[in-house]
């Protein structure tokens, strides 16, 4: 990569240490100066607490008394005995597997509809983005029950065609689905990003294809999708990471219980219960690290496979 500070790469035989240091400083100096705020932030605000939590995960810290070292005890318990953990993983994976593709599909679909010059497109854009603003609001819990509750809107609509629906939001088989719907409902952010990506695609490509007689569907497959791949990748990775970390919606809608029957016990919610309701912060820290590893693995895989289906126009990553 071309840089601004690299010298012309001439080498002399065995340069003195002082020279080498000076050369390094000259090369890396400006970069590090620009990086300084981030470095401070990283070392003071992030790294310290992160390492502290790693340490805590090997203790039985209960928040109120001094931590006592327990070695791998927490991890052992997590992997061999904790049934609720297995359940939490299942719930979270199901949630991610359903909500992310649906959310991205909705985002992409609406983005494509809004990409044409529809009149008042600005209002529609804002309308579809609005639910995302309600994100962590306390009101969501109540709203969601009003819609998916026993006598909620959904059941009222179903009743008109003679179907008697269950109380979706409080039924163990369906509660998670209502949370998936909640996630998909808030597709505003990825939608905006898709819209931007679509704007990048040159119109003449479509015109040329039309002239050759290609149908709308074909154009989508052969033009839109490939050229949109980097944006899809970006959204996919970020939404999945968010999905694994999801907490607030489950907390609010289930009242912090993860119910009914732990059917909405998201991983982060379980972690929170262990930490703050059961005073087992040491164990919760271990859980947090396990989640981090899971996310990291996923992200690495995503990046690794991306070279097969995503390509950029410049040479880099």
């Amino acid at each position: 990569m071309a840089t601004l500070t690299e010298t012309a790469g001439r080498r002399r035989a065995a340069p003195a240490l002082g020279d080498r240091i000076r050369r390094e400083l000259r090369r890396s100096g400006p970069g590090y100066l620009f990086l300084l705020p981030w470095l401070i932030g990283f070392f003071v605000l992030t790294l310290g607490p992160t390492l502290a939590s790693l340490y805590l995960s090997f203790t039985n810290y209960d928040l109120l008394t001094t931590p006592r070292w327990t070695g791998l005890g927490n991890y052992e318990y997590a992997f061999t005995q904790d049934e609720r953990l297995g359940n939490a993983l299942r719930v979270t994976f199901t949630y991610v597997l359903w909500s992310v593709p649906l959310k991205l599909a909705a985002a992409l679909g609406l983005a494509m509809v809004l990409d044409r010059s529809v009149r008042a497109v600005g209002i529609y854009r804002a309308t579809f983005y609005l639910p995302s603003l309600l994100g962590a609001s306390v009101a969501i819990a109540v709203l969601w029950r009003q819609i998916f509750g026993g006598e909620g809107l959904v059941n009222q609509l179903l009743a008109t065609v003679g179907i008697h629906g269950p109380a979706w939001v409080s039924h163990p088989s369906y509660a998670l689905s209502t949370l998936v719907i909640l996630a998909v409902w808030q597709f505003g952010s990825p939608m905006i990003i898709f819209l931007a990506g679509l704007r990048q695609i040159p119109q003449d490509l479509y015109e040329a294809a039309s002239m050759e007689g290609a149908s709308g569907w074909r154009q989508f497959w052969k033009i839109t999708l490939p050229l949109l791949a980097p944006v899809i990748f970006f959204n996919l990775v970020l939404q999945t990471i968010e999905g694994f970390k999801a907490f607030t919606q489950a907390f609010i809608v289930s009242g912090g219980t993860g119910g009914p029957i732990d059917s909405t016990l998201f991983y982060s919610l379980y972690l929170y219960q262990e930490a703050f309701a059961n005073f087992r912060m040491g164990y919760a820290s271990a859980l947090a690290w396990i989640l981090l590893v899971i996310i990291a693995v996923f992200t690495a895989v995503a990046f690794g496979t991306s070279k097969y289906w995503v390509y950029y126009e410049d040479e880099g990553r």
Binding site: F34, T46, L133
Partner: protein
């Protein structure tokens, strides 16, 4: 795919969009409708349309807590505005370093920076609190603002990096020929050309900070320093006491207005900004 749409197609599209909009907005409409009802009717007669428009929830709700919402909005705006400034300054500097400069261990730092995106919040919650407590920053806005000036939001760094990489290097090289150092390039070339992505970062930064609830919960003690989302939580008493739902809905609806306005006003910039940043060249 982009033939000029016929009138029929356009009307059809509008109808679809309108229906989709109503479906999307129904929960919100219900909330707003309920905000005009007195508390006893909200749950016993849960329809979206109120029978009469009663503004008392709004009036009462504004001052229902000891501190009025004027203060809460003020606090929210101050924190959000400062967060925006911090993010723009710090993240652009960091992104410039990653995108344009070379230095030892650059790859390592970049991967670590991306790694911070993956941290669950609870990993660092308590240790960070203890640390800020030692600094004496608890019960002030500092823990919520200072990190922004230290580029803690990796999302924006990532976004800006992508954008900067889309600006042709020839411009930089021409400047170097003229004897510009990295700072000049950053200040005089990169930033002016990056207005769209900066606007994007500003808006998302504003909205996300404004909506942030966990940070204020942990670090703010005195009610006079609360932000709007935090104040809204005080309306609901899950311990079985009495909650003010009408006021909650009224204030929640109102709290959407600033972010909505910000979004409406700047959405064009967002589209343009993200377009050049999101990984496309």
């Amino acid at each position: 795919m982009n033939r000029k749409p016929t009138l029929r197609q356009e009307v059809f599209r509008h109808i679809l969009l309108a229906i989709a909009s109503i479906v999307m907005l129904y929960p919100l409409l219900w909330m707003i409708g309920s905000s005009f009802k007195p508390d006893e009717l909200i749950f016993s007669h849960p329809t979206a349309l109120p029978t009469s428009f009663d503004l008392s929830n709004y009036i009462h709700g504004w001052t229902a807590l000891r501190v009025s919402f004027t203060t809460f909005y003020k606090n929210s705006f101050i924190i959000a505005a400062l967060a925006v400034i911090g993010n723009l300054a710090a993240c652009s500097l960091t992104a410039f370093a990653f995108a344009r400069l070379d230095f030892r261990f650059k790859r390592v730092w970049f991967v670590l920076m991306l790694g911070t995106l993956m941290l669950p919040y609870h990993v660092t919650l308590v240790p960070q609190y203890v640390m800020f407590l030692h600094f004496g920053w608890v019960n002030s806005f500092l823990p919520l603002i200072v990190p922004k000036f230290l580029a803690v939001d990796a999302f924006f760094v990532f976004l800006m990096v992508q954008f900067f990489r889309g600006i042709p290097r020839e411009i930089d090289e021409a400047a170097i020929m003229d004897g510009c150092g990295p700072w000049r390039i950053y200040w005089k070339i990169m930033l002016p050309l990056s207005t769209p992505v900066l606007a994007t970062a500003a808006i998302f930064s504003f909205i996300w900070t404004y909506d942030d609830f966990l940070g204020p919960l942990i670090y703010l003690n005195d009610m006079r320093t609360y932000t709007v989302p935090l104040a809204l939580r005080a309306f609901v008493d899950s311990s079985g006491g009495e909650s003010l739902y009408g006021a909650l809905f009224a204030m929640s609806a109102l709290s959407l207005v600033p972010v909505f306005v910000v979004f409406l006003a700047f959405q064009r910039l967002i589209i343009r900004g993200v377009a050049l940043g999101a990984l496309k060249r």
